[in-house]
Symmetry: C2
Subunit: 270 residues, 2 copies
């Protein structure tokens, strides 16, 4: 593999995944990943532009940022690209009235959305709210529509909490796709439009940007398909087999955010 100086040359902007990179979520909000609070602080003091790009769909953007700030992270709401606000824009543009299969923690994001007489289903990481009854209700809504529209906030397979691996929204989206014979529209990583809106908000071209995430497919593969570079951290949901993934090869694998920031500050922007 080429030297880091070559791999990181010309990087001007950094997109950071949140869960599994900054912190591991879990009971009571989770815990910061060792070294990541300080690494983020150093990154933000550099000349590199920084933005956060998350698929978090269990907590509102405000709650997520509050939690991270409480852990010591330097982060504000307007620095975060999150799927719920992006979905609300789409719903308004297209006149869609969703049936919401979501966690209570994110319901406030949809407060301004008309949910009467639904003509689509929005599915997010509902966690414990993925009961049979709630899944079946969403299924029945879709089956009664002539043109069933299913919008999925991300399509992650699983994520890591402090208590272990947890099923993510993607698994439940697949269940509804199969039951209804339809294909969901994804708002979130790895959808190209989602990365592009984050880049636009950061004001950096894709070839000058690098993604740092713990998901080899959703973060690394997705960013690379948009013309970005991407590093995978060996924290969060990382598994050793990711380094031999049959389809996706990261531009580099690093132990954690701290190592990624060390390398970026040394080699980027040259």
């Amino acid at each position: 593999m080429a030297a880091w100086s070559e791999r990181l040359a010309g990087v001007r902007g950094v997109l950071l995944d949140i869960s599994g990179v900054l912190h591991d979520s879990g009971e009571g909000g989770g815990v910061p990943i060792p070294g990541s609070v300080e690494a983020l602080a150093r990154l933000k003091r550099s000349q590199l532009k920084v933005r956060f790009c998350t698929n978090e769909s269990q907590k509102s953007r405000g709650d997520l940022v509050g939690l991270l700030r409480h852990m010591g992270f330097d982060i504000s709401e307007d620095e975060v690209t999150a799927p719920a606000p992006a979905t609300c824009l789409i719903l308004k543009e297209r006149g869609l009235r969703p049936h919401l299969l979501i966690h209570d923690g994110i319901r406030s994001e949809f407060a301004q959305i008309d949910t009467s007489n639904p003509n689509c289903v929005v599915i997010a990481d509902a966690g414990e709210s993925f009961s049979y009854q709630n899944m079946n209700k969403a299924f029945q809504v879709l089956m009664e529509l002539d043109n069933p529209v299913l919008i999925s906030l991300g399509k992650g397979r699983y994520y890591k909490e402090t208590s272990g691996l947890m099923l993510d929204v993607g698994a439940y989206t697949k269940a509804l796709e199969y039951a209804c014979g339809i294909k969901a529209e994804v708002v979130g990583k790895p959808a190209p439009g989602y990365f592009q809106s984050a880049l636009q908000e950061m004001g950096v071209e894709s070839h000058e940007a690098i993604m740092i995430g713990d998901d080899i497919v959703g973060d690394v593969g997705g960013a690379q398909r948009c013309g970005m570079r991407a590093l995978q951290v060996r924290t969060g949901k990382f598994r050793p087999s990711d380094e031999h993934h049959p389809e996706v090869k990261a531009d580099g694998y690093v132990d954690d955010l701290a190592e990624a920031v060390d390398l970026l500050l040394q080699h980027a922007h040259q």
Copy 2:
């Protein structure tokens, strides 16, 4: 389409789906489909061989037969091919110890199976037991296995209860397949081996047998791929669009079991 006399000539054995053909399941066991009790009685008085081939995986075979007999159907346990007993044979043959993601109503079928230190997951139509917690536990068991084996009792998309359409096991199997990056082994329709074991138990060759079901893919398509003929009834989960299915065309569509039996008694065995 050819005349019924041609389509049904030489039929010696009839495989009957249960839910959606004999009865609609639901609260208190459900209700018989009008005319089906009497139609089954006429069929059994004829020279045609009859066997039942179900994907029912919420109730034990004994409970299901008890319920149907209570509704007036002439049916006994040894006439029924059901996925749970078939799965138990496979588990014993291969030394598999399952983690069971199943409905309490079928747990008795697995009473003789060693479930300690599981090395596979068996998933059935768990209904309300498809909680996030139970799904996540099955997911975690699979992720900890070097060679994750997932056995699915059928792969139906949905079925009809008296209260409406209900998500079936197939949707949840897809969720686990996606989350774990694996492919389930299906025991039940439309797996060819399952139809073949039912034919063997009935003692009829596939070209002399006809399947009657309400599922265009699981019943009709599956049976046809085994060399059988197949009729779809317009009861149970039947939807008008099934008659224009892009991949599967039944050998005939009939209003209900009563019409199927009328036609069989008139034209089969010639």
